[in-house]
Subunit: 159 residues, 2 copies
């Protein structure tokens, strides 16, 4: 498959917030993002993998590090409408993305991205993909190393 | 915020596979997608939310329904290199996406999408976003209802 990566993007000043133990029923995600939208919290990534316990699941979202406290306050304020077990937050987070044209088969490109970061000991905390992009959240201490590693792995020469 | 949605996309014939209880350490995701790439399994979405148990997490990915058995066989074949607790699979899955221009503040647009689907009783099984797209996996029985609901909510007139 001809390499179809056109660039690497990153943002080093993010926070990730995970709301743990939400009821997995219609309307729960809507309550959460209605509250965040109402208070003008700028949400970047939203990620929910499939629930592994029949009735509960977790949602992770990312915000600019400066918005973390505000986002946590909003989630706390809707606890009566949005029962959850706890909220985890971390603010030394970076988002690293590889951008390409239609990556019909993600597995090959994802493997290359994940393997090259793994070789450098970078742990993938969150993963999210679309047809033209694969994004991961990592510890922001690894930002430069990760970006340089991916430039090399995908043979992109920094301008 | 001026509505910036340009369209709704959907694919009704997908399967979701969740590998539960993976070690949350560097290299694990690479092993998984190397094996899938090696066997030419066409992976569409890849989603991992933040781990809520210090050392384990789950990864969900989607494939065409016809590839589900092959993907499961691949995951089973690497169990010695990729310790996990179990694999969940479901094949009556549809992917529904709203596509827009830079959705800087996802929360407002996500809220509208999630709330309109919730009103119709549609449960969101998986969520994944990028700057220009929000995708959800739902029970494929709701495909037409979901697409029509979103066309109405975002005032898009079907051609
Ligand atoms: C957890 C949450 O996404 C729920 N499944 C919903 O539809 O809102
Ligand atoms: C779970 C998996 O993503 C692991 N954190 C890794 O980096 O490979």
């Amino acid at each position: 498959e001809r390499q179809k990566i056109s660039g690497i993007a990153y943002s080093a000043d993010e926070a990730k917030i995970t709301v743990v133990g939400l009821d997995d029923k219609p309307g729960i995600a809507a309550v959460m993002f209605e509250a965040l939208a109402h208070d003008n919290v700028n949400v970047d990534m939203i990620v929910q993998s499939a629930s592994t316990d029949a009735s509960r699941t977790d949602i992770t979202f990312s915000v600019a590090a400066g918005d973390a406290d505000k986002a946590l306050a909003v989630i706390d304020s809707v606890k009566d409408k949005l029962p959850y077990q706890r909220v985890d937050a971390a603010s030394n987070i970076a988002k690293i993305s590889i951008i390409g044209t239609a990556m019909r088969t993600q597995a090959g490109i994802a493997n290359k991205m994940f393997a090259s970061l793994a070789e450098k000991g970078v742990n993938l905390q969150v993963i999210s993909t679309s047809e033209i992009k694969i994004s991961v959240l990592i510890d922001s201490a690894y930002t430069e190393l990760a970006v340089r590693t991916l430039h090399d792995a995908f043979e992109l020469h920094e301008a």
